[in-house]
């Protein structure tokens, strides 16, 4: 994850230029309703992954708003993280066995960490399944506990969920990113979509010279117009479908170039397999560049998105797909599948174009390649849509409102 030093005056002051002073004043007023309370955030990592990335900002913003907030990281050994990795996959819908030994590893580590962590706030905010069991050991009278699930549970493995559900049922509130991800639960449940940081390395403003220099560095200078999908090499992101759509585009718009860029191949055997297949399939097509990006390539991703004429997200299934908001924030014209959280971000014909097939992807890509006015229009509305709905200030507002509703 890219660390960005706090700017002079703090993050909130910086956000004023993006969301306006009225929005910040309203946020401050909302935060005043939490006066006298203290929040403790808990997850399992300070580095890597979207949750840690969000927490780095959200914790700072909450403190700047006058809501004392600390961040505790639950630790574990390889056995524990082996179990929670399988749990994560199973909750996403991959079939994984859950043994009694796995359950015991989970319980044992939870007990140890419950003794160690400073869970002394009155609002305890637990992120994802790994630390979910802490509530059994450390709930103090008067504390309110909130469980924030960042995972899509719509295809959950029931064995894992049945193990987790009695723990989640002890919380005062649960929060999910999208209504389609919510399992049946007998507790107040709210929907809070994730958000992006407009000042992060991946999203910050970049001038043409810098974009060009990054593109040069990647060997991609001056060869557009680029049609780009930036996603890890995973079957559900349908990179082969993107190649097929590009083959159709290329027949009609020979100048178009395709860029498939992403990570996830170096530490994931399945990702490596998909990448190899994509490279093999791309051999038969001219104008295709396949880039494997190492982790921490935020500057490159920023430049690649900004240099793209059309950004694709042709997934077969999705979680929330914040890459779409990242592209929209950069005023890019987006063609994306109507799955998961994408339709919340892409309002068809307003902030981008939704598609349901390879042919649809090709057709809408051609339409955008031919129509700079439409690209500009969608890009500009897309940016406003992200400003209104998918920046960290909105996510913080929702969290505070959820806490206020508990008090």
């Amino acid at each position: 994850m890219s660390e960005v030093a706090a700017p002079p005056g703090g993050w909130l002051a910086r956000y004023e230029s993006v969301v306006g002073s009225g929005t910040l004043r309203a946020l401050e007023a909302l935060a005043r309703r939490l006066r006298g309370h203290r929040i403790v955030m808990v997850n399992t990592t300070k580095t890597g992954g979207g949750v840690a990335e969000i927490l780095h900002r959200v914790v700072v913003i909450l403190n700047e708003l006058g809501v004392p907030t600390t961040w505790e990281v639950m630790e574990g050994d390889d056995r524990f993280f082996g179990v929670t990795k399988r749990m994560h996959n199973a909750l996403h819908g991959h079939v994984e066995p859950l043994t009694e030994a796995d359950k015991e590893v989970f319980r044992e580590r939870t007990r140890i960490e419950a003794d160690r962590l400073a869970l002394d706030g009155d609002l305890i905010f637990i992120h994802d399944p790994q630390p979910a069991g802490l509530i059994e050991h450390r709930r103090l009278p008067g504390q309110k506990w909130m469980w924030r699930c960042h995972i899509d549970l719509s295809r959950r493995d029931e064995a894992y969920w049945e193990f987790l559900r009695p723990l989640v049922a002890q919380y005062d509130t649960a929060i999910f990113s999208h209504i389609g991800f919510v399992p049946p639960l007998d507790l107040p449940t709210y929907l809070v979509p994730p958000s992006i940081d407009p000042f992060a390395e991946k999203n910050r403003e970049m001038d043409e010279d810098e974009i060009e220099s990054v593109m040069d560095g990647l060997g991609l200078e001056g060869r557009g117009p680029w049609v780009t999908q930036i996603s890890r090499f995973d079957r559900i992101k349908d990179p082969l479908g993107v190649l097929e759509a590009y083959r159709l585009v290329r027949k009609r718009r020979a100048a178009a170039r395709l860029l498939l860029a992403g990570g996830g191949a170096s530490d994931d055997p399945e990702g490596a397999e998909v990448l190899a297949e994509v490279r093999e399939r791309a051999k038969g097509l001219s104008g295709v560049t396949v880039l494997e990006l190492p982790s921490g390539s935020d500057r490159e991703i920023n430049a690649l998105q900004r240099a793209s004429t059309v950004v694709l997200q042709k997934s077969l299934r999705e979680g929330f797909a914040l890459t779409v908001s990242e592209a929209l924030w950069k005023r890019r014209a987006v063609v994306a599948s109507a799955v998961g959280g994408i339709p919340l971000q892409v309002l068809h014909e307003r902030t981008g174009l939704l598609v349901h097939s390879i042919e649809g992807t090709a057709l809408q890509t051609i339409r955008l390649l031919d129509n700079p006015d439409l690209r500009r229009e969608l890009g500009s509305e897309g940016r406003e849509h992200v400003r209104d709905n998918f920046l960290h200030t909105r996510e913080v507002r929702d969290y505070i409102a959820a806490f206020v509703s508990l008090l």
Binding site: S21, A26, L30, H385, R397
Partner: protein, 248 residues
Amino acid sequence: MIAPFCFQSVAHLEAPAGLSASSIDGLREAIERAPDDSIFQHVTRILARHPHARDLPGNDFARWVRTALQAPEAAERLAFAGSDPSRPLAEVRAALLAALGGVPARDRRREAAEDATFHFVRARSVRVPLDVEAATPADAVSLWPQLDAAAVFYHLIEAPLRGDVDGSLAAWLRAAGATGLARAAEEEVAEGRPLERFRRELGARWRRSQIGRRVAEKASAPEAERRREATAAMARLADRLREEGEAR
């Protein structure tokens, strides 16, 4: 003497409403049973969810029927049924049901793909006092540009719909004798334009309506004060022109 108007903002917490639909008939049944908070979320709150849109998207039902069911005629009817944000929620619900009642049988049978089921959401409002008060209608006009979009939405749209008389800015303006300002606000709301645009237009309309009063006030001020204010106004105008010149 009327009590000051206390401005508030609002955060809307979204929650599952426990209803879903995968066809026109299913949507009709669910709209009949949906709580008011859900109709509010999917139709009225569109303005608050897209305050900076240049062109306001249709309500959620209309967009779903167009994209998931590919039924443009029904989508148009639904979009129109929900296009007046000042309409009471019971009337909105009735208009949506009437729009769906007129959908041809062939369109009613269309089924959305499994992943495209429409799940109903409800919005719970968490109100936030802003510590900003208007003692007079003129104060309200001058404070108007400082409010966030959610506050504008609450005072002009949500509070009247929810029967919160104390939170309705138009009701307060009327009670304070500023009938023209109240009427202007209600007319702008009924036009259903995107929130930031209608906030700007209403602000301009309100300021214009205050010109006569301000001129009368200034005319009765002592000569020295009038000269001082005229000099300051000219300096502000010169600054603005200079800034505009530099920006160009």
